[in-house]
């Protein structure tokens, strides 16, 4: 099976089948990310189309030395999703969820009801991330979610949660450092 970056290289050369393969591998995660931000299925679908459209157009600018294709796609999807939410003058789903204290954030309903993933490798990655997030203190996880899915800056998060900025900064830094340890240590 071709690597993600070789598919992106084929896309840059105009190979539509490579785009289809990339879609098959990553559309679901892009959709989940978009859904966490926009909170509506139809809007999340639009974000996915936008994301792969932009990936197709800019495939030639992708540099494999600077990170994975998955991280590149996630950056595009997040930006597109936040753009759409802002264009609609709405708050992101992550923000809405954070406002309801009982909801505990977007990633917290630990993926119990998830349909089985056909791709074993992806299912394993999903399991690892879910477990790693579950190991973080909720305050850290929430701050990270508000930043990434909510599109808030650290000072906006501090305002949102009514907490000192320094506390938010520490939570984000410690939470991300711990997540990285858990995810990288496990692979």
């Amino acid at each position: 099976m071709d690597s993600d970056s070789s598919m992106v290289a084929r896309m840059a050369a105009g190979d539509e089948r490579a785009l289809g393969e990339l879609y098959d591998r990553h559309a679901r995660v892009a959709y989940a990310l978009a859904y966490a931000v926009v909170g509506e299925r139809a809007d999340a679908d639009e974000v996915v189309v936008d994301t792969f459209g932009q990936a197709w157009r800019t495939a030639g600018q992708f540099e494999s030395g600077r990170g994975s294709v998955a991280a590149w796609l996630a950056t595009i999807a997040r930006t597109r999703a936040l753009d759409l939410v802002r264009a609609r003058g709405r708050r992101s789903r992550a923000l809405e969820r954070a406002a309801q204290l009982a909801a505990g954030g977007v990633a917290s309903p630990v993926a119990a009801g998830e349909p089985a993933d056909r791709d074993a490798e992806r299912a394993e990655a999903r399991r690892l991330v879910t477990r790693a997030l579950a190991e973080l203190p909720e305050s850290q996880r929430r701050a990270i979610e508000l930043a990434y899915f909510g599109g808030l800056s650290q000072s906006e998060i501090a305002t949102e949660l009514g907490e000192p900025l320094g506390t938010v900064k520490t939570r984000i830094r410690d939470g991300m450092t711990k997540l990285r340890e858990l995810l990288r240590g496990a692979t």
């Binding site: 996915v48 157009r57 991280a71 993926a111 990655a125 984000i172």
Partner: protein, 137 residues
């Protein structure tokens, strides 16, 4: 800011959580600090995986076809280069062809002129040349 303080900004930066001014300052620093760039890249991988934990179901079934259909309308930026190269090739070929054609035409004119001159010379130098030849003798 100390090196340690810059490094501490990598995680919030990768999450898109730095405020405007701080972000601009950090980006300026990133341009000249490989260590911070590597740190950002590694946190970006972590951030990119966060969505894996979200139970969201599947994108709409027809979406894949839409993505492919839209791609057919727009060529990727990079693949325009081979097209450009091909177009440049055609133009170059046309120019070279034109030059060759012109050169061939010029050569033909020259050849024709040489042939004409040779004929004149031949006529002049012919033994039965008549008045002009005799005038010079």
């Amino acid at each position: 800011m100390t090196e340690h303080e810059w490094l501490a900004l990598a995680a919030p930066y990768a999450l898109g959580a730095l405020d405007g001014e701080e972000r601009a300052a950090f980006e300026a620093h990133l341009a000249q600090c490989a260590q911070c760039r590597a740190e950002v890249a590694s946190f970006r991988e972590v951030a990119g995986e966060l969505a894996l934990a979200i139970p969201a179901g599947e994108p709409a079934p027809g979406l894949r076809n839409r993505v492919i259909a839209e791609a057919r309308r727009v060529r990727p930026l990079a693949s325009r280069l081979p097209w450009l190269a091909a177009a440049a090739g055609i133009v170059l070929a046309a120019l070279l062809g034109g030059a060759w054609w012109q050169e061939r035409a010029a050569r033909r004119t020259l050849e024709a002129r040489v042939a004409e001159q040779s004929e004149v010379l031949a006529t002049l130098l012919a033994p039965d040349v008549g008045e002009i030849g005799r005038a010079h003798v």
